[in-house]
Symmetry: C2
Subunit: 146 residues, 2 copies
Amino acid sequence: MRIGELSEATGVDVETIRYYERSGLLQEPERRANGYRAYGPVHLERLSFIRHCRALDMPLADVQRLLGFVERPQADCGDINQLIDEHLARVRARLKSMQALEKQLTALRTHCEAGHTAAECGILHELVAAAHGEACACHPGAAPKT
Amino acid sequence: MRIGELSEATGVDVETIRYYERSGLLQEPERRANGYRAYGPVHLERLSFIRHCRALDMPLADVQRLLGFVERPQADCGDINQLIDEHLARVRARLKSMQALEKQLTALRTHCEAGHTAAECGILHELVAAAHGEACACHPGAAPKT
DNA sequence: CCTTGACCCTTTAGCGGCTACAGGGTGTTC
DNA sequence: GAACACCCTGTAGCCGCTAAAGGGTCAAGG
């Protein structure tokens, strides 16, 4: 199959496929006489694997490592667990900070309803207050250290 | 104050301060005879404002716009609301997908405990199964369309 | 006076993971 | 033979920094 077909089949953009090849994630395919890339089932599977890992937001370096395990089936599985655990820890940490952020923004948002000028805007006041190190709706813990 | 002192006072890295200046977020300060940047209270306040907005994960373009409102206090506050609402929507969307991701990874993680080879690893099997478009622990909805 | 070391300067390049050109070749269809 | 979809390479841009190279400045200590 040509690159466009592979793209269609996997949902991965053509440019991204070429990028994965350049990055060494996807093995270089054969070329037809006209220079077009000719992909087979191996590439389809591998690219689908990559795509799935990316859907789980794994960095490409991790995907690379996982692909290594696929190639070396006798390797120790503990390393895979560790990889997933580390990734999960990163995701959970990020999730936690996102939740805090959502709270902060929601709090900030309550400080203004439309219909007046920026000078009277509660949101802007909050942000400026924060810039002075005062306690603000969005960062309640950040009271001045006086 | 010099750039190091401003950095100390705001918690923003020296390089980042220069980067903000290059990007037009922080106004260019006066220079001393030796070429050192000389900052005043104006810069301190402005940089603190920027830092606070960044703590709320706002893109620099949004921060730029907010700074515009600070400078034009008679502008319509509705635009500020809109900016915050859009940002909040982005954050919530991201939060939702992070939560789904966390679930998917947690499900995936249950498929393996250490102590065997990659060939027997449930995690790897799940990922490969997903590459075949089969239903997997991490993407239960993605069953084959046969 | 000289050296050390902390600070400052500019310019440039790199990170991750794409994405978007520019400028060309190929291959099918009307 | 021309239009069009597809393919190729190479390079540059996105965001928000971060780091490094290669230098200048200045105060304190010997």
